[in-house]
Structures are given as structure tokens and as C-alpha cells.
Symmetry: C2
Subunit: 328 residues, 2 copies
């Protein structure tokens, strides 16, 4: 019998989860849930119904894992604990500073309901976190580095779009190649924010807008841009649609460390991703962890889990015997 998946929220991430479910023969998409009017939504999976969010109150016998595809700012802090009280759930909560309270809220609800709630699933947090943990455990004396990009940051793109006179914007985060090379060489450089990444913005301005003022507002924006070297390009709507419609991303996690009685030997561990579609890759990670949520719950486990708490074999549809024979 297939693992029956529900998706709450049908934005970029919801669509990425949808296509990932299709790639896994042991899963089926049961329904998509939305806060919008269900009739307004057209999903790409033939025959899959769209329901209003309230239907989730009474579909526990039809869905094995509910995947929450809302945002970390306001959706998930409410939705994940709420639905962990009714379903096995997986989310991609990524507000690092608030993970402890989110974990506690989901843990309480999931334990009370006898369900599994997996939080902060994706690639960062997610696969990058895993690689930080493994590398730290193996090389206790060393240095950690994470570089993001080249890729589109939706938060930064949104920040530029909020500037008066900006019609559309896309922001790319780009690692500084010299910084990445210095890290890979094992020289353990201390790098400032500015030395690690640059930012590149493509902006469609309203007709007659003051381009110099827009550029200045971007480059001096606190938190988002002022600590970085930023380049701004003004382009047409046609160029935006033609050259910047994708959501690529990626990056790498590097740990360098030493071993030996006198720390005489150096090692470099690197994990890197090059992704054509950030939401589809994130959705693919989430779906693998949805399998884990289902199987752990079938074994009687409950409570909040992160990628750190889940034995890798739970992610795979293959048996232990197959995994040992072919992947070990």
C-alpha cells in the first residue's frame, strides 16, 4: 500500500513536493489543501482533489503524512503544532533562532497525538545541517564554513521589490570564489560577511523612477545588503522573464580539521549542491523525510524529530538488505 501524502499550501514549495511525490512509486498524492478558494486552484496531478484547509479536521483516516508548505514567519509556527496533533507532519521551518521553541511546540503536540513531526527539513536547514554534524563528529578539531549560491534568495528579492519605484526584482547570492578556494586549501581563513558572498540584483524599474536612488536604497539596506558588495543591474520586463524566471540555488558546507597525536595531518570534507530548482530539490528532501515519518510512526515512535534524529535507512524505500548490498 502506498504512503498517502497531503500537501498544505500550493506555492513554489507545494508544487516541488507534488512533483517529488510523483517520482516515488511507494507514495501517492491524496489531496492538496489550501486557504484560498479550492475552485481557484488548478493542480498539475491528474485526479487529485483540492480542498479547503478546514477539511483537514476530519481526513485523518485518508492521509498518512501531511506536508506543510507554508512560510516560516507566520504559517508554520501555528500550522505545524496544530496539525502534528492530527497527522504525521513534515515542514521546512528555517528561522534558525526560533527552532528551539518550534521544536518544543511540535514535540508536545505530536507526542500527545502519537504522531511524528519532522521540522526544518530541506537543504539548509536539512542536508547542509547533516553534513555539518557528521563532519564535526568526525573531525572534532576544525573549522566550519558554509557558502550559499550562486542562487536566488527570495527574501532578498522581496526586499528589493518593496522599494518605491521597483516593479520586479531578482537577487542572486554569490560565493566569493577566492574565499571558497582559501577554505578548500585548508588555510582556515577568518572571513567577514563581505569576504564570503557578494549580491547581484536585477531590477525592473517603474517608468520614470529615479534609478540612482533605487540603487542607493538597495546597497545601503541594513541586514539585507549593507554588509555586502552589491551590484545592481536595471533590466526590462522581457529580460527578467527570459533570463531570470528560474529558482536555481546551491552552495557548499566545508569542514577542515586536523588529526594525529600532534595534529600533523589535515583533512577537508566538502558537501556541495548545484540545483536548477530550489523548491523542487527542497520538496524532494521533504518527501524522503515524509517516508521516514511514516515508517517511524508505524514502528510506534512519536514526537518532534529533526534530520539529526533520523537513521538514514528510514529515508529509502529499499530494505536494509538491499541497502547493504548496493549502497554500503
Amino acid at each position: 500500500m502506498s504512503i498517502r501524502i497531503g500537501i498544505l499550501g500550493y506555492g513554489n514549495l507545494g508544487r516541488g513536493v507534488e512533483s517529488a511525490v510523483h517520482q516515488n512509486p511507494d507514495m501517492e498524492l491524496t489531496a492538496v489543501f489550501t486557504r484560498r478558494s479550492p475552485e481557484s486552484l488548478q493542480v498539475r496531478s491528474a485526479g487529485v482533489p483540492v480542498y479547503g484547509i478546514d477539511e483537514l479536521e476530519h481526513m485523518q483516516d485518508q492521509i498518512d503524512v501531511l506536508i506543510l508548505c507554508g512560510g516560516s514567519a507566520t504559517d508554520l509556527p501555528v500550522q505545524t503544532p496544530k496539525y502534528a496533533g492530527m497527522y504525521n507532519v513534515v515542514d521546512s521551518f528555517d528561522t534558525h533562532a526560533r527552532i528551539p521553541e518550534h521544536f518544543a511546540a511540535v514535540d508536545g503536540a505530536a507526542k500527545a497525538a502519537g504522531k511524528i513531526g519532522i521540522i526544518s527539513c530541506g537543504w539548509d536547514p536539512g542536508m547542509f545541517s547533516l553534513n555539518r554534524l557528521y563532519a564535526n563528529a568526525v573531525l572534532p578539531e576544525g573549522h566550519d564554513y558554509t557558502f550559499w549560491g550562486k542562487g536566488v534568495s527570495q527574501g532578498h528579492s522581496d526586499a528589493v521589490r518593496r522599494i518605491a519605484g521597483v516593479k520586479d526584482a531578482r537577487q542572486y547570492t554569490i560565493p566569493v570564489p577566492e574565499a571558497v578556494e582559501a577554505v578548500r586549501s585548508g588555510s582556515n581563513p577568518e572571513l567577514t560577511t563581505r569576504q564570503k558572498h557578494t549580491r547581484e540584483c536585477f531590477v525592473v524599474a517603474e517608468e520614470g523612477a529615479d534609478l540612482a536612488r533605487i540603487e542607493e536604497e538597495i546597497k545601503t539596506m541594513p541586514n539585507y545588503f549593507s554588509d555586502y558588495d552589491t551590484t545592481v543591474h536595471f533590466i526590462t520586463e522581457e529580460e527578467m522573464a527570459r533570463d531570470h524566471s528560474g529558482l536555481p540555488h546551491g552552495g557548499c558546507v566545508i569542514r577542515t580539521g586536523s588529526t594525529g597525536m600532534n595534529k600533523e595531518n589535515q583533512h577537508v570534507i566538502e558537501y556541495s549542491l548545484k540545483l536548477d530548482s530550489n523548491p523542487e530539490f527542497t520538496g524532494s528532501v521533504i518527501v524522503a523525510y515524509a517516508r521516514a515519518a511514516y515508517r517511524m510512526n508505524q514502528e510506534g515512535m512519536s514526537g518532534c524529530k529533526t534530520v539529526f534524529d533520523i537513521a538514514p535507512a528510514y529515508l529509502s524505500a529499499k530494505s536494509g538488505e538491499e541497502l547493504r548490498a548496493h549502497l554500503l
Copy 2:
């Protein structure tokens, strides 16, 4: 209280484990065990006793995890099941074809004794296996590639040393750069053995030996060299000692795959290692898994485990709260 570690076998790997234990403040090295005469052995850790292997029969109350540092050909198939009946154990068994029977033997012994036996721990099998599993679970439609090197293969070095007229030898396995680049580009090339790696041998010949015959014997040796492009360099003993005394290694695991309703987006996941010392890095991985063996056994688990069966958090000395706060 520290986790008390015993080491059986004090070759390169045993010494790598020894130095790794020193880097982990929650562990202490209790004793080194050897099949040689204990008096003949000098260990580098001050105050650590060396015992004959028979002492293992009655030291169960002094050692929490016994790390088995013998070879996969003849030592581990006997030692790991035997000592899994007395101790939590970790080994680095790497004969892929025999893993199923080794797993079964260790599982039976460990379950009967209520102990944990972790097998096939290191970087390949080990960290590379983990990355193959994670990447396969996340990108079910894709291709796997593993490249080894540049690094010293001890098995191939030994094979060259067995040739008549060879006094000493070191063999480096080298990935073909064009093959690695083709894989990284996402073009999913089909690569023959010869297209993936080359082999480079440094040989010290006996005085008066027939160098042309040695070179021919190396290059045509079945299984080891005949399927590869091999280069042979004859050097002096001084050059061998000066330039080839280390045991560097490394390599990478790459999975390329597609996502999307029409597989329209491509992704590349790469995990790579650059290691100054193969045995010290392997020892460091084993020691992290020794921590996992101890903690899982403390929680009442038993039986044979591989890296696939162990939740990452067990490897770290940090608490779940610390891990979530700092590495997630």
C-alpha cells in the same frame, strides 16, 4: 564518566584510532590488545597498557567499546562476531561482497549478548555510503558516481611488492579529471573502468632486477592493473622515504538527478574528501561511531548496525538542544 575504549590491533588503523580517541574529551583509551608479544609493542599514549589478545576474555567490566583494527580478509570475519559476543564493537570491514554474511554473523552474536556491533565503518564503506544513500533517497531518478583518490591504495601497493625483484612499492589511484568534470556537468556519461581512474606506481627495484619485466608484470596484472592505464616509475629507497611515506587518500561521491513533472530540472550532489592520512581519518570516523555504539547500547539497543541504521545525533558528544541550536 568517559567512554572507555579498547583497541585490538596496532597497525596503521589502530594508531589512527588511538590519536582520534585523544581528540575526544568524552573518551579514554583503556588498553591496546595485540596478538604479538605485548612487551614488543610501544604505544604512543602515555600510561596506556598493552595486553595480549587473550586478556579480552575477562575485561568486559573495564571496556565500553572495543575497536577492531584488523584486516577484512581473515581477521574481522572471525574477530568481529567473536568479540560482539562480549563487547560493543566497531569494525571497518570493507569486503563488499561478504557484507551480508558478516552482518548476519555479527548480528546473531551481538543480539545474544545484548551488545551493539557496528560494521563497515570508515569513509568507503562509511561516509561515502551515507552520501550515496541520502542522495539516492532525495533524487530517486539519477545516476551515481564514485571516484577514489588521488591516494595510496595499500592493496595495490602490496600486489606490486609481491612481484619478484621489487623491494618496495607505492601505488596511487588517480581519478581522471575529464571524467569527474563530465559527471559534474550533469551529462551522465557512461564510463568504463579505464575512463574513470588511472594508476601510478613508484617502485624500488632490487639491484640488477629486470625493470622492463617488472613494469610489464605490473601493467598486465589481472584485477589490479590490466583494466587501467598504469604508469610505473622506478625510484631510489631515499626517494621513496622522502616523497611517499604518507598515506593520503580521498575521492568523491556524486549523484546527478532530475526533478519536476517533466524532469526538466537537473541537480548535482557532491561529497568529497581530501585526506592527508587515510588511517587517521578512518580512525576518526570509527571513534565517532564508537560513541554511537555506546549510547545506543545504553538505551537498550543491540544487534548489528551499519552507518545506515544510526541516527546522526548519536555520533556527536553534544546534546540534542546544542545540535539544534548550533548545527541545524
